[in-house]
Symmetry: C2
Subunit: 195 residues, 2 copies
């Protein structure tokens, strides 16, 4: 199985991310530790000044094997689509060489994200084939520092559940929020706000 | 200004698309003709068997200049995110070298899409910076051939309007639907349906 940690991904990752992911060869078993890993990605993205305060990763649910990582690279790639979740999903597709991460024969996969998905990433999750989503901060927490997360359907978790995708929220929420605060204090840009 | 019609885009376009876009040097002034251009992209994508029955493009609203094109390349790129609208937006960012297509100093841009956006593409439009969206077929028309478009917020057009993005629907709707029928008849795959 091809590694997803290459720079040939649709969204170019900062080189530190690729190094960090390659070093992380051991499976990560506990849900809390998976979340701490993506919060670390978000924090490193802030301190390295390589994008917004968001991190995400795709794991094999059962084995804890890391399949792909993502950080928000909207500014460095000049692409508004390059949210952490989108980057992680694109890299997972690249790693598994399949347009459906829920295809028969593939292990069950989960998306761990340091922040609840925005409207775009919610839609992307529906198409992707991941079976589970685990979120750190709430969308309201991102909104609190100024990111217009844009409305998802009110019953978005129900819609995901209908398609057999479960959602867990508030995993290490405060640690994820702390990264937002650090971004704010470091003068990070709140881009593309319209309202 | 760099051309967006290169194969260095985040989502790899079929080579015929790039040739077709490069040939289209004249501005396209009428909204109907812009729509017919993206429906032609969708149709060519079906007949060339290079992806799903959807096409999109970004135009300068006032001059009719073509900035970027997209077709659905989910299957050939093995990436569930590669909807026509996403590909067109990503290529527009590449062409204009800015993460905000609504940034000061840029011309007003519009997304013309052969089908109403799905939940993901709706969210992407919010972030992108385009000021106007023109849709051919309805989401219900895509659903009718089996694509699970997934629910957007019920008031999605109002949410876009709040952010100063106007939406026009049903432009050449029947011509856009005809491409869906052709896809269906040619045995095109309805991928990643979950419900």
């Amino acid at each position: 199985m091809k590694s997803g940690f290459s720079s040939a991904s649709p969204f170019r990752l900062p080189s530190w991310t690729i190094r960090l992911a390659r070093r992380r060869q051991n499976p990560i078993m506990a849900a809390r530790d998976r979340m701490r890993f993506v919060i670390q990605l978000a924090l490193s993205n802030v301190t390295a000044r390589t994008g917004g305060p968001f991190g995400a990763a795709v794991f094999e649910s059962q084995t804890g094997r890391l399949i792909a990582v993502g950080v928000n690279v909207v500014e460095p790639t000049n692409c508004s689509l390059a949210h952490a979740e989108m980057v992680a999903l694109a890299n997972a597709h690249l790693a598994l060489r399949h347009f459906d991460l829920g295809a028969r024969g593939l292990p069950r996969l989960e998306l761990v994200t340091s922040c609840e998905p925005c409207a775009m990433c919610y839609g992307a999750i529906l198409w992707s084939g991941v079976r589970k989503v685990i979120c750190g901060a709430r969308a309201a927490d991102a909104l609190a520092i100024g990111f217009d997360e844009a409305p998802k359907p009110k019953n978005w978790m129900v819609e995901l559940k209908k398609r057999k995708i479960t959602v867990t929220r508030d995993r290490c929420r405060n640690e994820a929020i702390a990264v937002f605060r650090q971004y704010e204090q470091s003068g990070g840009r709140i881009y593309n706000t319209r309202n």
